[in-house]
Structures are given as structure tokens and as C-alpha cells.
């Protein structure tokens, strides 16, 4: 039974539109009618208005975005031989390479069927050099590309010519682009395009967002002096409600863990009962594990494939092609398939693990039955009991249409520095003009001239107080007042380092044969890429899951990780680096509601409800606005468990700060562990007794002032901050990216960003890059902003419960102990342990 749609359009302008006959015929020929929002956007475009279209997945957003472009190009006469090449007419930018490729496929159909003479090409990191060269000489009318490619295009000398007939730029999945540094760079790119073409129309295509005005600002030129200008808006609501369920498992749901292994039998049955299933997970390693589990039970040898960003590109393309011709029954995927790709006949989406955010869930579920008038079918498979609550919260949110995209932050300074260099690579620039252009983009509208000048100095000579690098400047102000690149090799350097996605250093994974001692096999087929940090934790002989296989590490040569097929199917190293995305504030609120009020728990499975009831009996369930803190002894240690539900990142920061305080209060803390839901600290002294005697108070422990000096001191040593610094330094162009095949041999040839960070911090703490790093820390890895909001919320509302033993709610986090990575104190103790072993050995020998 089809759940019929009701769609409402907001933003009808009554403007006229022109849809020529070939187009109306084409729609009619398919038994379709152009949808009202498609016509609405057509009329807006034909009136030259920049517009944001917000519509649910499956509403035909893409065709809507391209309609005016196709109409306009269809009316153009063919280029006569010898006539000068025209530049690009429409530029389409998507966050994913695969999406650009997919959209091309989708657009080719109407172009072919209407027999339109329109050249349409993609340009991504995978496009061969010869084709890129040709595109520069003979640009297609429509170019489909990614943000990084746009940055490269505008940094070329002939950029003004290349874009001199540009009419429209279309940003697909704009809601996902704008939240990151990629969005900042793209906004600067758009400002540049507007300088080339002042009348340029910008079209944004977006899923539902919390605050459409932020996106509307982003699309249009912002006037100076803090005034705000918005694009037009077309908003389409409604569509069929998805049918989402939580897997009703007859198995026991585990307390903790992320594999959802318990449910594999039921997941496999669901795959068997559908045509094509998309299975989403949050991390690469979860994808590997799930794929392995499914193959182990694949008695019917169903065609099931694996797709994630670390796999070799040819392998990914193969899966995508098989998918588009419906040759697969299931694909296990990570976020590489998150956005807007039309996967034809998918009739079921299974989400393994908690979705971590309601918007993310809505997006992923939109993949099934990619048509607006049929409901999507989806099953959520929580991996543990807290995730059951989280899934239920997400499910409620999806029905409510609630959105939890984070508010946009101001443009980052490292991105700004990269853009300044790119601008100089294209042509000499005037600093005043560039500043005006930059503050016309929404993310940088509030940028001060002073900071801009600092970024300019940084780009030129590193921007240090100690001005010793003037003679080596990369860009320099010349006599005519413009800034110029001083040597072509700096432009080359810029091109190799463009973009804002800084991945952990990756190693190529190559398959080889299991080798005896001494053999030095260089390696066979490439399987993909893997994080260097993960491989460093292994020793040769260890086995792990990758590319759907169990592999044995043979060794590392330069940037190649050599592996062989392992005979056993059980990988020795269970790799779980934690979810990539922290629990969203919105879902956290919902989960706290479930805990506080039994009427919000009625949808939960019986075993989860019972678990919470026992918690109520043995300890207490916190009220909605309370923070529950439990203390109890266990195996000669004393534990303190708090349940803030603010996500793993904020909890990690909280854990570091809390341990410092406990240390000062002489509570002798030994360590802590953080999950998305809770944090546990353990130590040698009885926390319950200390609290009872008021030797310490929770109010003092959780006081907001921990975000002051404690934070500063801790940050100085935090490896998380060092990682953030490395990213900023790479984006800003201080440190070069590592390029496969161009690795320098031996560490003494390169400088570790950690060393640079230490030196910079002690000698110039207010340097631009450290400013950028702490701004990132507030939002990103450390989530200080969220921690601060939480501390404020729970002030005076901390509920302490001293217990004799572990509570039901504490079990999941207690099971996580020992799985976390170690901080610098723990590193020292590991070293001491190793040294002691040696001494003891010596003594006994």
C-alpha cells in the first residue's frame, strides 16, 4: 500500500517561466508532469535570481536545478567550425566525486532523449590529466565537479577566461557542504567567481535544515557593514513518510560494543526478503566487520558488496556500476554513499549502529525508493542498549522532521590563508580588493581587516613576530601595489596541497604472498588505503579485517603496507576507533527524556525497559535536567560514573579535566574512559566517602571554571590539540601534504608538526595558526563549546548516588575500560613497566 504524498510548496512567486515544447513533450512522453517546485525554480532562474531549494530526497531536486540551464542551452545554435570556444555555462559542485559521476549519468538521459546538443563533463581528482588539459582548451557547457577542483580552477592563470560565460553555479547537498572547512573554501571560491561574473546566479539544493537563512546568506554576496542579504527560497515539504522500524531482535541485546553481531542472522534474513538492501554503518572498520559477518552466513551466496572510502577507486567504481544495473542484493557502506546518489532499485536501508544524528538518519534512509511518493523502508539495528534508546530517539525525530545540523561557524583562518595563496597563483592581486571580495562571502562577513592582514603576512613569510624570512617570501608586494607569487614553484606547491580534507596519514595496502624470512616482496594488487596510526599499533603477523578479507601484516615499506591473505577468518585485532560522529545534542536530549519519564519509554524493547527499571531499583534514573553521578567500589578500585550524554568528544575533554581536579583533591585517580553517553573515572581512594565527608564536592568538581586554567594547562600537552594543529598547518600551507610515491625517506628529512607546535607555542602563543587551532578545538575534536553548555545546564542539578556495587546503567561503560587509547601519563607508565620487566628478568637470570 502506498502512503500517498502531500507536498506543500513555500515561496511561490507567480513569476512567468518558459518551458519549450521539446521539454513538455519529453515530460509527457514519460507520463510525467513537471513538478511545481521544478517550474518555480525554473522561473526564478529565468528571472536571474539566486535561489535555495529545500526539498526532501527523491523530489527531483537535481533536475529542478538543471532545468533552466538545459532550456537555455537548448536554444543556442551549434558552434560553427572556427568559432571561438565559449567557456563554461553551468558549474555544478557536489561534495562527493561519486555524486558528480552519478548526476552526469542522470542528466545524459534527458539530453539524449531530447536530442539536445549539450556537452556535459565531470572533473574530479580521478579525471586523467589529458582530459583536464582538454577541458581547459575546450570547456564543456556543463561541468560537474567538487569543491577542491573549483579551488584549482580559480587558481589558474586563465581562470577569468575559463569562467567568462558562466551563468549559473549549482551547489548540491549544500547543507552538508557548508558545515565544514570545505564549505569555507567553497564560499571563498564562490566570491571569486562573482568577481569574474557579477551577475552569476547561485542555486543551492538542500535537504531540510534547521535554519534555512544561513544557507540563503551563503549563496549571495553579503554587503559590507554587517548588513545581511538572503537568496530567494523555495521550500518543499511533505512527501511520503518513511517506514522506519528498530530491529525487533529475539536475541539478547548486548550491554556495550559496536558490532551488532547478535543481530546478524536477522539482518541476513531481511536482505534475503528484499530486492536490494543498502547497509549503512558509521566507520570503515564496522563496515569490514559487518561484511565479514554477512559472508560467513551467506549460504545462498547472495551478491553482497562492500563500499567505503579507503578502498581502491577501481573497486569502488565496480561496486557502483553493479549497483546501478541492479546486479547486487546488498551493499555495506560508510558515508561515502551518504549523499544524494540514486541507487535505482534499493527497497531497504538497514542502519547498523546508532545514527548519531537525526539529520544523518533522514539522509541515509532517503536512499531507499528514491521517489518522493513512495515511502522509504528502513530498519535500525542498535549495537547495544544505549543505542536502542538513541535509535528510538532518532526514529521519533524523523517523524517529527526535527533537524539537528549544527549552527554554522565563522570562516576558519587556515582556509583563508590557503585561499590567499590560491588567488595569488592565478594573478597578482590588490589586498584591498581581495579583502572586500572575501568579506562578501557569508562565512567571512565578520572578518576584521587586522586578521586578514595577519593571514596575508602568514602566506607571505609565515607571519612571525621575528621577521627573519622576508628574503624568502612566497608572495610579495610589488611596486604597483599588487601582491605576486615570487616563484612558479610556489604555485606548483599550492596545487599539490589544495583542499581542506586532511586525512590521517594513509598507507597503501598491497597484497603479497606470505613470505619467509629475508624475502623482500614489493607487493601485488592494491587493496586500498589504511590509517598509518592503526598499522603502527600492529606487529608483523597480526591479522585484521580490510577490504572484506582477513589479512596478515607482513611489513611496512615506505608508504606501502604489505599484507597477505590469512587462512583463519578470525582477525586477531578487533579495530574500533570509535564513531566518527558524536551523538547530536538533539538526540542526547531525547535520550535523557526517555530516562526521566517512563511514558517516553513505551516504544523501547522489553529487555531495555527492564534494564532501566532495575537501574531505578538499584540506583536512580536522573530527571531530564539532572546529571547523575554514581560512585561505587569494585575490585580494589573506586569508580565515579557520570552520565552527561554529550557525546564522546566532549566527554573525553571532561575526563581529562575531571582527572586533573581529582588529582589535586588528592583522590588519586588512575584513569578514565569516555563513551557517547557517560564517563567513568577510577582511582585508589573511596570517592563515596570523600563526597560524604565533603572532602570534595561535586559542585566544585563539575564547576564551569574547569574550562579556564585547567583547560589551558591540559591543552598544552594534549595530543588531540597537536592533531588539530597538524590539520590547520596543512590547510594553511605550512606543512606539505604527504603524497604517495613522493615520500621522503627517513624521518630526519621532514619536521614533525608536533615539534613545530611545541616550539611555536612556547615562542609565539598568539600566532595565527595557534589561533586557528584553538578555534577548531572549541568546535571539533574537543567539543569545548558543548561541554561548556552542559556544565552550565547542570549547575546545582547534580544528583549523587553512592552505591555498594556497580549499577545497571554503569555496566556498558565499565565494559569499555581498557579499550581506550592512552594519554601521556599512561605512556610513561607503560615505559616504566617495560623497563621493570627487563630489570626483573636480569635479576632472575
Amino acid at each position: 500500500m502506498v502512503n500517498k504524498k502531500t507536498t506543500i510548496i513555500h515561496g511561490c512567486s507567480g513569476l512567468p517561466f518558459n518551458l519549450p515544447k521539446p521539454f513538455t513533450d519529453w515530460f509527457a512522453g514519460h507520463g510525467w508532469q513537471p513538478r511545481s517546485h521544478q517550474l518555480e525554480l525554473l522561473s526564478r532562474c529565468q528571472a536571474g535570481q539566486s535561489t535555495l531549494l529545500i526539498a526532501p530526497t527523491g523530489a527531483g531536486k537535481t533536475l529542478a536545478g538543471f532545468l533552466s540551464c538545459l532550456v537555455e542551452l537548448s536554444g543556442r545554435p551549434r558552434r560553427k567550425p572556427g568559432e571561438a570556444q565559449k567557456g563554461i555555462h553551468t558549474l555544478y559542485i557536489s561534495p562527493l566525486k561519486a555524486l558528480a559521476v552519478d548526476i552526469k549519468r542522470n542528466l545524459e538521459t534527458p539530453i539524449r532523449e531530447m536530442n539536445l546538443n549539450i556537452a556535459l563533463e565531470t572533473r574530479t581528482g580521478d579525471t586523467p590529466v589529458h582530459r583536464r588539459q582538454r577541458q581547459k582548451l575546450a570547456p564543456p557547457q556543463i561541468l560537474l565537479t567538487t569543491p577542491e577542483q573549483l579551488s584549482l580552477l580559480i587558481a589558474q592563470k586563465d581562470a577569468p577566461r575559463f569562467f567568462d560565460s558562466l551563468e549559473t553555479v549549482i551547489f548540491d547537498e549544500l547543507h552538508s557542504l557548508v558545515t565544514s572547512k570545505r564549505g569555507h573554501l567553497l564560499a571563498l571560491g564562490l566570491a571569486r567567481l562573482r568577481t569574474f561574473r557579477p551577475d552569476l546566479k547561485a542555486i543551492g539544493l538542500s535537504a531540510t535544515v534547521a535554519d534555512p537563512d544561513e544557507l540563503r546568506r551563503w549563496l549571495v554576496k553579503q554587503p559590507p557593514l554587517g548588513e545581511i542579504k538572503l537568496s530567494e527560497l523555495i521550500k518543499l515539504e511533505g512527501g511520503a513518510k518513511p517506514e522506519i522500524t528498530i530491529l525487533k531482535s529475539s536475541e539478547r541485546i548486548p550491554w556495550s560494543g559496536h558490532s551488532a553481531r547478535y543481530a546478524m542472522g536477522e539482518v541476513y534474513e531481511a536482505i534475503k526478503n528484499h530486492r536490494t538492501t543498502l547497509l549503512f554503518v558509521n566507520t570503515r572498520s564496522q563496515a569490514e566487520l559487518l561484511f565479514q559477518e554477512l559472508w560467513n552466513r551467506n549460504e545462498d551466496t547472495l551478491p553482497i558488496a562492500l563500499h567505503h572510502g579507503s578502498l581502491d577507486v577501481s573497486q569502488r567504481r565496480k561496486v557502483e556500476e553493479a549497483m546501478s544495473v541492479n546486479a547486487l542484493r546488498a551493499v555495506v557502506a560508510t558515508s561515502t554513499l551518504d549523499l544524494g546518489i540514486d541507487w535505482g532499485d534499493v527497497d531497504l536501508v538497514i542502519h547498523v549502529g546508532a545514527p548519531k544524528g537525526a539529520s544523518r538518519l533522514a539522509q541515509r534512509i532517503g536512499r531507499a525508493n528514491h521517489r518522493i511518493d513512495e515511502p522509504s523502508r528502513a530498519i535500525l539495528v542498535p549495537a547495544n542498549r544505549f543505542e536502542v534508546m538513541e535509535c528510538q530517539a532518532a526514529l521519533d525525530a524523523n517523524y517529527l522532521g526535527a533537524q539537528d545540523t549544527p549552527p554554522l561557524r565563522d570562516g576558519c583562518l587556515d582556509v583563508l590563508a590557503q585561499h590567499i595563496m590560491g588567488t595569488a597563483c592565478a594573478a597578482p592581486f590588490d589586498a584591498d580588493e581581495l579583502f572586500d571580495e572575501i568579506i562578501s562571502s557569508a562565512p567571512y562577513a565578520n572578518l576584521s581587516r587586522n586578521l586578514f592582514n595577519k593571514a596575508l603576512e602568514f602566506t607571505a613569510t609565515g607571519g612571525y613576530a621575528l621577521k627573519t624570512y622576508e628574503q624568502y617570501a612566497k608572495i610579495r608586494k610589488t611596486e604597483d601595489g599588487t601582491w605576486r607569487v615570487t616563484h612558479p614553484r610556489f604555485a606548483q606547491q599550492y596545487r599539490l596541497n589544495v583542499g581542506t580534507i586532511v586525512e590521517a596519514p594513509m598507507l597503501d595496502v598491497r597484497l603479497t604472498r606470505h613470505r619467509g624470512k629475508g624475502a623482500n616482496v614489493r607487493g601485488g594488487p592494491m587493496l586500498g588505503k589504511i590509517e598509518e596510526g592503526f598499522i603502527e599499533g600492529l606487529t608483523p603477523g597480526d591479522t585484521f579485517l580490510f577490504s572484506g578479507k582477513t589479512l596478515r601484516l607482513e611489513g611496512i615499506r615506505d608508504n606501502i603496507c604489505l599484507v597477505s591473505n590469512a587462512a583463519d577468518t578470525d582477525a586477531k585485532i578487533p579495530y574500533y576507533a570509535g564513531g566518527k560522529f558524536p551523538l547530536s545534542t538533539y538526540l542526547a536530549d531525547q535520550v535523557r527524556r526517555m530516562l526521566s519519564d517512563p511514558s517516553n519509554r513505551t516504544h523501547l524493547p522489553k529487555q531495555v525497559r527492564e534494564w532501566l527499571e532495575i537501574q531505578k531499583l538499584k540506583s536512580v534514573l536522573p530527571k531530564f535536567d539532572e546529571l547523575l553521578v554514581e560512585t561505587f567500589p569494585r575490585a580494589e578500585r573506586f569508580y565515579m560514573v557520570a552520565y552527561p550524554f554529550e557525546g564522546r568528544l566532549a566527554h573525553q575533554t571532561l575526563g581529562m579535566l575531571l582527572t586533573r581536579r581529582l588529582e589535586r583533591a588528592n583522590a588519586k585517580p588512575l584513569g578514565f574512559v569516555a563513551t557517547d553517553y557517560a564517563i567513568a573515572v577510577w582511582g585508589l581512594r573511596d570517592f563515596s566517602r570523600m563526597l560524604k565527608s565533603s572532602e570534595v564536592t561535586l559542585a566544585a568538581l563539575f564547576d564551569e571554571d574547569m574550562l579556564g586554567d585547567d583547560l589551558e594547562t591540559w591543552l598544552a600537552e594534549s595530543f588531540l590539540l597537536k592533531r588539530t594543529f597538524r590539520q590547520c598547518a596543512t590547510i594553511a600551507g605550512l606543512i606539505e601534504r604527504r603524497h604517495p610515491g613522493k615520500e621522503k625517506t627517513g624521518r630526519q628529512m621532514t619536521v614533525s608538526s608536533d615539534l613545530v607546535y611545541d616550539v611555536l607555542r612556547s615562542h609565539e602563543p598568539d600566532h595565527l595558526l595557534l589561533q586557528a587551532t584553538s578555534a577548531d578545538a572549541a568546535h571539533g575534536l574537543l567539543d569545548i563549546r558543548r561541554l561548556g553548555e552542559m556544565l552550565l545546564r547542570i549547575k546545582g542539578r547534580i544528583r549523587h548516588k553512592g552505591l555498594q556495587q556497580i549499577s545497571p546503567l554503569a555496566v556498558p561503560i565499565m565494559l569499555e575500560i581498557g579499550k581506550e587509547s592512552v594519554g601521556s601519563d599512561a605512556q610513561e607508565s607503560l615505559l616504566a613497566e617495560a623497563a621493570k620487566e627487563l630489570v626483573e628478568e636480569a635479576g632472575s637470570g
Binding site: 621575528l466 605550512l734 619536521v751 616550539v759 610513561e828 607503560l830 615505559l831 620487566e837 628478568e841
Partner: protein, 235 residues
């Protein structure tokens, strides 16, 4: 004597090498008490400006930082003689790029003591205008000091060049630190400079230099040296 008292308080490791007593210091230098001699390797001064000339603007404070650390070590040990085991400068013209204030700092460190620059692969020539002795190799007592360890057996060799670092794995976690490395025949000193990293002892560059059964890595902790056996190390 004062210096030796101080070393009792930690941050150091006493070793016996070729019958001589040596002290390995947490700051990445070696002290030879009987000869009041301090050894450092691979300071790589002016690495920052060397990178800057190629368009990578590392903070220009590395030389200053290294000199401050060196000053602290000299203050602690009060050596009569300092041997810098090569690659004291990141390139052969590094010394000429030193700012006046760094030249002054360095001169004050060199004042009143014997100073020997061993030539390195980065800085084969004597540093311009800085004084001190210069040599490619130096013998003293049972030791031969050179920058680059020679292949094969080299009894009593104390060298730098390789920036040794070591990694251990415990309970699934790994810790990497710069280290002193020795097997009783030779000793390789870690890099001292603010911008110098480490190369794993398991790297092929170390092949054939040590008897792994006797190899020890003295890993540098925050305030302690940790003595680790070669077989405990991972790559």
C-alpha cells in the same frame, strides 16, 4: 661534583661503556664525568631558515630553542669539553645565517671550554666565524667520535646521524620515543635539535650496526630514561 649530585635526583641513566662510566641525560646528551666531556648530536641549527628558503615557513625559533636547551645541559653538567657529533647545522651555510643574538648565545656557551665540531653530512665544513676545533673524527680514551656510524664492527664508536627512536607495545598500546642505542660496542646518540625527529631502530638504516642480543635502547621519558632491551622493541 655538584653536577653528579644533581644527577642522583633522576632524569639520567648511568651506563658502563668500554670500561668508562657515562651518564645518559634526559635532555638527549651524554656526559663523561672522568673527562668532564659532554656529547650532543644532530642539533640541526637553522633548520627553520633552511626550510624557509624552500618556501616552508617553520617558526623561526628552532635555533633559539635548541640553544636554550643546550645552555641548560651545560649549566647542569658544567663540562670542560663539548663534542658536537655533527649536523650541528642543518646545512653547510647554516652558521652564516645565525642572527647576531644567536651568535652571542653560542659564544657564551662556548666560552671557557674546549669545543669540538665534528663534521656531519649536513655540515661538512667548519662553521664560519664560530671558533672551536673542527674534525671529521676524534679519538679520546677508548672512544672514537664520528658523525656517521661506520658499517661493521666499530668498538668504542660514539656517533649520531641516525636520530634513533624506539617503540614498545604494551597491552595493545604503542609508545615511541627518541632513544640512546648501544650494544656495548658502539653507542648512537639521539638527535638534540628542536626540529629533529626520530628514526626507528628497526629501520633498515640501522641494519648491521648492532648485536640485537645485546642491544639496549634508553628511551627518553619526560623526566626519566627507560632502559629497554632490543628484543622488547617493535618496528
Amino acid at each position: 661534583m655538584e653536577a653528579l649530585l644533581q644527577h642522583e635526583q633522576g632524569g639520567c641513566q648511568d651506563i658502563d661503556f668500554q670500561g668508562e662510566h657515562l651518564i645518559l641525560d634526559c635532555s638527549a646528551c651524554v656526559f663523561w664525568p672522568d673527562e668532564k666531556t659532554l656529547m650532543v648530536a644532530d642539533i640541526h641549527m637553522e633548520k627553520g631558515s633552511s626550510f624557509a628558503s624552500k618556501g616552508t615557513f617553520l617558526p623561526p625559533y628552532d635555533t633559539g630553542e635548541s640553544l636554550i636547551r643546550l645552555g641548560a645541559a651545560l649549566n647542569a653538567w658544567k663540562p670542560k669539553r663539548v663534542i658536537s657529533l655533527g649536523d650541528s647545522f642543518h646545512d653547510d651555510t647554516g652558521a652564516s645565517r645565525l642572527s647576531d643574538s644567536y651568535v652571542e648565545m653560542l659564544e657564551s656557551l662556548m666560552r671557557g671550554r674546549e669545543w669540538i665540531w665534528i663534521g656531519g653530512n649536513h655540515d661538512p665544513s667548519p662553521p664560519a666565524g664560530l671558533g672551536g676545533l673542527h674534525s671529521t673524527e676524534l679519538c679520546a680514551g677508548p672512544f672514537v667520535f664520528r658523525h656517521q656510524p661506520v658499517s661493521g664492527i666499530a668498538t668504542g664508536e660514539i656517533a649520531g646521524h641516525l636520530h634513533p627512536s624506539a617503540r614498545i607495545k604494551r597491552r595493545g598500546k604503542s609508545v615511541r620515543r627518541n632513544c640512546f642505542a648501544g650494544d656495548g660496542e658502539r653507542l648512537i646518540v639521539p638527535a638534540f635539535g628542536a626540529y629533529t625527529g626520530g628514526l626507528s631502530l628497526k629501520h633498515e638504516a640501522f641494519e648491521g650496526l648492532f648485536d640485537w642480543n645485546k642491544l639496549k635502547a634508553w628511551m627518553i621519558g619526560r623526566e626519566t630514561i627507560f632502559e629497554i632491551a632490543g628484543r622488547q622493541l617493535v618496528g
